[in-house]
């Protein structure tokens, strides 16, 4: 089972290594990880996607909490939170299929951010499933390059996860 965890950490060098090291040492499986600054420049926020059952999830949360530079760890349940990921995708495109691709892009409310005679770059934002679906559909045209950010997530409503 897949779980999403938000981790507020001190914004200093070596913190990412500590977290990555913890995961490899304890044989936890990270599926995706994204990091960025928070509103307070002293802290960063990481969003981790972790594979495992409830026992593994509990250990991941407890072991992360033990790291001195980790301020807060919260699981974000899929029902109560929203998640977004951004992907940019370079596909083969010529004048034969350009229109078809553009149609697909508009259905997914994605956008085209670069065009050349033989390729196009598409930017898409959404949850993981949406991006997976678009990638699948674009595959028929030939994906030359794909870059995904890993997801970020936030609880709906007034509840706040911060330091």
């Amino acid at each position: 089972m897949k779980h999403t965890i938000a981790v507020i950490v001190e914004n200093r060098s070596g913190v990412l290594t500590r977290i990555a090291g913890l995961f490899s040492r304890r044989s936890f499986n990270i599926e995706s990880l994204s990091v960025g600054a928070t509103d307070n420049p002293d802290y960063s926020r990481m969003t981790l996607s972790v594979q495992g059952d409830e026992v593994v999830l509990e250990q991941v949360i407890k072991q992360l909490s033990k790291l001195i530079n980790v301020i807060r760890v919260s699981e974000l349940s899929p029902d109560e939170s929203i998640e977004r990921e951004l992907a940019i995708i370079k596909v083969s495109a010529d004048k034969e299929n350009r229109a078809e691709i553009m149609q697909l892009v508009s259905v997914f409310r994605a956008s085209i951010i670069d065009v050349s005679s033989r390729s196009m770059i598409i930017e898409v934002t959404g949850d993981e499933q949406k991006i997976d679906a678009l990638v699948l559909l674009l595959r028929q045209f030939g994906i030359k390059e794909l870059a995904r950010t890993g997801k970020v997530s936030m609880v709906r409503g007034a509840r706040v996860i911060k330091a």
Binding site: E10, G21, V55, E58, Q59, I68, V70, I71
Partner: protein
Amino acid sequence: MPPTEFIESLDQSRNTLKMTGAQAVLECLKREGVDVVFGLPGGVLLPLYDAIYQSDIRHILVRHEQGAAHMADGYARATGKVGVCIATSGPGATNLVTGIATAYMDSVPMVAITGQVNTFLIGKDAFQEADITGITLPITKHNYLLRSAKDIPQVFREAFYIARSGRPGPVLIDLPRDVTVDNLEFSWPKVHLPGYNPSLKVHEMQIKKAAKALMEAERPVIYVGGGVKFANAHQELFELAVKINAPVTTTLMGVGCFPEDHPLSLGMLGMHGTRYANYAIQESDLIMAVGARFDDRVTGKIASFAPKAKIIHMDVDPAEIGKNVRVDIPVVGDAKNALTALIKEVKPKARGAWNDKIAQWKSDYPLKYIPDMNIIKPQYIIEKLCELAPDAIITTEVGQNQMWAAQFFIHKDPRKFISSGGLGTMGYGFPAAIGAKVGRPDCEVIDIAGDGSFLMNSQELATAVVNDIPVKVAIMNNGCLGMVRQWQELFFEKRYSATILGRGSPDFVKLAEAYGAVGLRATKPAEVEPVIRAALASDKPTLMDFIISPLEKVSPMVPAGAALSEILELEWCEESDVCSLQKIISETCSSIPEKEASL
């Protein structure tokens, strides 16, 4: 931070002193109450060692940095204070690694200070550069790479706080050379660690639940680990156990937390624990773990561990709860707080059928060995040591010597049994004994060693001699790497692959003498007591070389992967086996004179 403290810290920050980074390090050590450090200098540490030279801190020069780490560790375990070791950059720092990992696995409060190349050389593969914070990431509670002299007070204050609080552990501070040379305005800061709040207070509701379970249980067992020692909770443990007449078993790390001569004591459990402790666990309907972590050497096959029992787990580290076994009643917090609360909550309970059953097991299946008139049995040596020095601090190496020391010495004091449990570090016991003796000079300190493991840090004989640290070493000399040999005998059809030490072993008496220590040898049982008496009477570092039966095994034993109930009393070796192994050893061994080696 409460406002008063904040004002206080502001006041303190006005009283600043200008000094170099190296002087600031010494000032921090002084303020943290450090009176002794164990170390070995090097190029990048010259400024720090110059400051040490001019300070009144006691520095003990070791002969190998691994020795420094184990000495700091032994000092910490014997005193409860934070042990401090120092090593230079690169190889000095990497030589600490085994010692740091040893301390980490056994939750020992330690601060390791390593030299580092100048900050502007970091990352350039400079001479004697090693990324020691990277290397020690998974074996420290936390570590720091200092980048600026002004951070020294803050980092040292935090490091000592982290090392000693909550679940203790080693913290490493990497100190680049230029950081020790630069000047700073010294002020003593407050600890401010928003991401670190050890949970010491216990939840009242959980204590009530635990008390209820203890009251309802018919066959309770209290299972005690090193956490009780670190929390200084052994008196509370005793009070609770006696109040409800619950038997107590300890892990290797918990040895001494409950007096082993008490009727409620089950001794040690697990792979080489007593049969009655293991039977009690398997029959129990309630296990209360206190400061213990359900290690694989304790539980045996995890799926068959304590099949009939509910489990209460008390630990200061929430991550331990539910890590290895399912727990019915978790109690997070300091063991002393938890046990104190629990004592108030439980009502006295009389002895019952369970106590009788345990008494029966104890009389039916005692720890035993077959005494011998001609060959020295290691268990006999331990019994004699216990008889002649019952209050000694015992440190051990790792392997058979360690298990015999745990089994046959009657332990009564939590800080008087010092052994590398988690990591199982051969070569630990002797330097740990030196550290323990430095911390507790009033106590007799004896390292119970094997001939294999003693050699791994025997160079520290020089440290003991030159600093007048009169530790005693009792080598159970069987000419082989006994524990591994035992497994080969039992599970690999007596193919003794690489476990016979043979020709490489020195004459330990001469080795001791070469360093200026005293060396004594016993080859017959009758010589054991006189040798021990002579060693105890000696005011110098003294090594006792006991030539023991090479085929003696540690018994009983739960084979790896078996359930605790499958504990075996190992068969005693046959005469022909002794002869054949003796032949192998003597053929490859020239150092022990023929007549002494013959059994």
